[in-house]
């Protein structure tokens, strides 16, 4: 008897709760007179990539709070953005399942994500099938925008642009400082990453008319870099380009300084050279080195400093490439929604494709215009080059390229002094 009573009470409670939800459901659109734009976000919120997933989430939230506080999407009657997050756990199959759920169950209007290229790649196919616009802030694999899809829009620069920008930077430096570069040397770790870079470098060097005097893959586990450095010294290149993991980046930089190898410039590719302990371990030996990055806190763009300060006070760390792209993505979406004036995915897609954004907070990027090409790639996305130098307050990374993003009052040191 007693058990039965409890059972009935539960049913009654559930029924009442359902009724309440149903009533709210009916009442709220009328009462609030507000449309919401549902944005589904798939990010690695657990798994080893969780820290970058969290950075992306925080940056999105900060942008959306700003947009909503400023009155939402005006062309949609002040519609607010509503963020719905799903965890991909960095697993492709999880990303695909979450995309299905967000589209079918949550009825999102737009999707964003997924950081891991391996997750973004299959997930973009789901978005394409349902015709839901899919904004990709940072998955760099080239193939994501090379599938002929209509609904994929990527903010970040793709893989092959890193090497391209290293060469563009070099040619810009030649022009700016009137120094001629004729020979280049490539020294790189002999894994997928280094070899991939070197392959593209070789093509770019040929096009640019540079002579490759040394092409040296080395094992990352090497314990003595004197032989490699001696080879560099004897090849005597004008410019040395490197791809290194952490331990080898430190040893190479120190050994280069010991053997007094001073090419006109050393250009590195992030990775080990961007490791937080790199500068500390090599000290002044890293001076004048150029490294390629997505974004640096000192980028000379209006508002960048304030937005970074706001982000840092809120979440305790600086903005970085990943979080900046996520932040920008929300403003790109806002801009598209304003122009679409509709929640119809097709209209949003058309508006995104016609994006030509050059104002507003999205301009904390190191480049000046955001617009997508036919494949959905942000065609102006660029990377920045920093130079390691000591301006009297210890070694720091100073943005030097592109020129309009250069730190105010800083003149890059090129060629590297010989002494």
């Amino acid at each position: 008897m007693k058990g039965k009573q409890v059972w009935w009470r539960k049913v009654a409670a559930v029924a009442m709760a359902l009724g309440l939800v149903a009533m709210l459901g009916i009442v709220s659109p009328v009462g609030a007179a507000e449309t919401v734009v549902k944005v589904g976000n798939i990010e690695p919120l657990s798994s080893p990539s969780a820290s970058v997933g969290e950075q992306g989430k925080n940056a999105r939230n900060m942008a959306v709070e700003e947009i909503n506080a400023a009155g939402g999407i005006k062309s949609l009657g002040g519609a607010k953005l509503e963020m719905i997050y799903a965890d991909s756990e960095s697993k492709p199959e999880k990303g695909v399942a979450e995309a299905e759920r967000l589209i079918n169950t949550e009825k999102v209007n737009v999707l964003t994500g997924c950081w891991n290229s391996a997750v973004t790649y299959p997930t973009s196919a789901v978005a394409e099938r349902y015709g839901i616009p899919f904004i990709v802030p940072v998955s760099v694999a080239d193939k994501i925008t090379e599938q002929g899809f209509k609904n994929v829009f990527r903010i970040a620069a793709k893989d092959s642009w890193w090497t391209r920008d290293q060469f563009t930077f070099l040619q810009d430096m030649e022009k700016e400082f009137g120094a001629k570069v004729e020979t280049v040397a490539f020294v790189y770790e002999n894994g997928d990453w280094g070899k991939g870079f070197a392959e593209q470098w070789k093509k770019l060097a040929e096009t640019a008319g540079y002579k490759v005097v040394l092409d040296e893959p080395y094992p990352s586990t090497a314990t003595d870099f004197s032989p490699v450095v001696n080879k560099i010294k004897r090849a005597n290149p004008d410019v040395l380009m490197m791809v290194s993991n952490a331990a080898d980046a430190i040893l190479l930089t120190n050994t280069l300084a010991e053997y007094k190898v001073k090419p006109k410039a050393i250009i590195t590719s992030g990775g080990g050279h961007a490791d937080p302990s790199f500068l500390k371990a090599v000290g002044k030996n890293a001076r004048y080195l150029f490294d390629i990055v997505e974004w640096e806190t000192d980028v000379n763009k209006p508002g960048a400093k304030d937005i970074n300060t706001k982000f840092k006070t809120k979440y305790g760390y600086n903005l970085a490439g990943e979080s900046v792209d996520a932040y920008i993505a929300m403003y790109v979406l806002k801009d598209a929604l304003e122009r679409a004036g509709s929640l119809d995915p097709k209209a949003i897609r058309e508006a995104l494709a016609a994006t030509n954004l050059s104002t507003g907070p999205a301009m904390i990027a190191s480049y000046d215009v955001i617009a997508f090409d036919a494949t959905g790639q942000n065609k102006f996305a660029a990377l920045a080059i920093v130079q390691v130098n000591d301006l009297g307050t210890g070694l720091e990374r100073i943005t030097v390229w592109p020129k309009n993003a250069r730190r105010a009052g800083y003149t890059p040191v090129f060629p590297m002094p010989k002494d």
Binding site: D215, P219, N230, R234
Partner: protein
């Protein structure tokens, strides 16, 4: 020509330091007849001890040897006494106790992860020490001063260990145990004490190698792995248990790594080292200095 000479000298200098890192491995194998898989971790501990001794006191890293050698000897002695001895006792009847190898692997993992917990994954390099970045320039050749010091340290250490084993009473007792531990026990030698001492000496040489490395190398929790593989190859090349064999094996590897890249990419030198390793195993499995049969 001058390049070849420069590379040869660099190869010999770096190779002797490789030999020094492998010295402890060969000593411990020679006496205990077990491969010590934790040797790379002992080297890593030695590097950390040397790093902190030199950083905190501001001493020349080689002066820090006064601290490093006793600490590392005690560390090795206690490690053997508390962790490995019980297994030897349990496997009294077995000539080459396999279980000890498994235990040393466990020690390797524990030490590496303990250091990761305590010191974090950062790469540390000795700053502001008198040896850092010093180069000697002789007629167009550039030689690293810290490596030169490492070469001298390696030779003195190898000579001292050799002398100790050959000439002192304790050294003879250790050699007797390594030849036949039962007979040695019957002669009144405390075999477990000998094992403790051998492990202590092996660990102390890893500490000396740490001192030789820190003026020009980074310290981090998994640094031992880089020297581990090299150590095994060196020891097999020179002959397991042979002191001068380890030094020669190290110099051979150093020469291959230093001279060969001038004719091919550095990636190839690794392949050559491993090919040589296989060749030695096929042709003379006991190594260059090893004895064919040990009793």
């Amino acid at each position: 020509m001058i390049y070849l000479l420069e590379d040869t000298i660099n190869g010999i200098l770096m190779g002797s330091i490789y030999g020094l890192t492998a010295l402890g491995l060969t000593i411990i194998f020679g006496v205990l007849k077990v491969i010590n898989f934790a040797h790379g971790s002992l080297l890593m501990v030695g590097m950390y001890v040397a790093f902190w001794a030199a950083t905190l006191s501001g001493m020349n890293p080689y002066v820090a040897l006064i601290v490093v050698v006793p600490i590392m000897y005690a560390f090795g002695y206690l490690l053997q006494n508390t962790l490995i001895k019980p297994i030897f006792k349990a496997e009294k009847q077995v000539r080459e106790p396999i279980t000890v190898i498994i235990v040393t692997t466990g020690v390797w993992y524990i030490l590496d992860n303990l250091c990761l917990l305590i010191f974090g994954p950062q790469y540390r390099a000795l700053q502001n020490n008198p040896l850092r970045g010093k180069m000697l320039e002789i007629g167009g050749m550039m030689l690293s001063v810290p490596k030169l010091w490492g070469f001298v340290a390696a030779m003195i250490t190898a000579g001292a260990v050799y002398w100790f084993f050959q000439k002192t009473r304790m050294g003879r007792a250790i050699r007797a145990t390594s030849l036949d531990r039962e007979a040695a026990s019957l002669m009144g030698i405390n075999q477990y004490k000998v094992y403790n001492m051998a492990f202590g000496i092996g660990t102390a040489t890893a500490g000396i190698a740490g001192v030789a490395l820190i003026p020009f190398f980074n310290v981090y929790p998994s640094v031992g792995v880089l020297f581990d593989m090299k150590g095994y190859i060196i020891v097999v090349l020179g002959g397991l248990g042979s002191i001068w064999g380890a030094m020669l094996g190290g110099i051979i590897i150093g020469l291959i790594e230093s001279v060969c890249p001038q004719f091919m990419t550095a990636t190839w030198t690794e392949a050559i080292v491993y090919a040589l390793f296989l060749a030695v195993l096929f042709i003379k499995p006991s190594g260059l200095f090893g004895v064919k049969y040990d009793w």
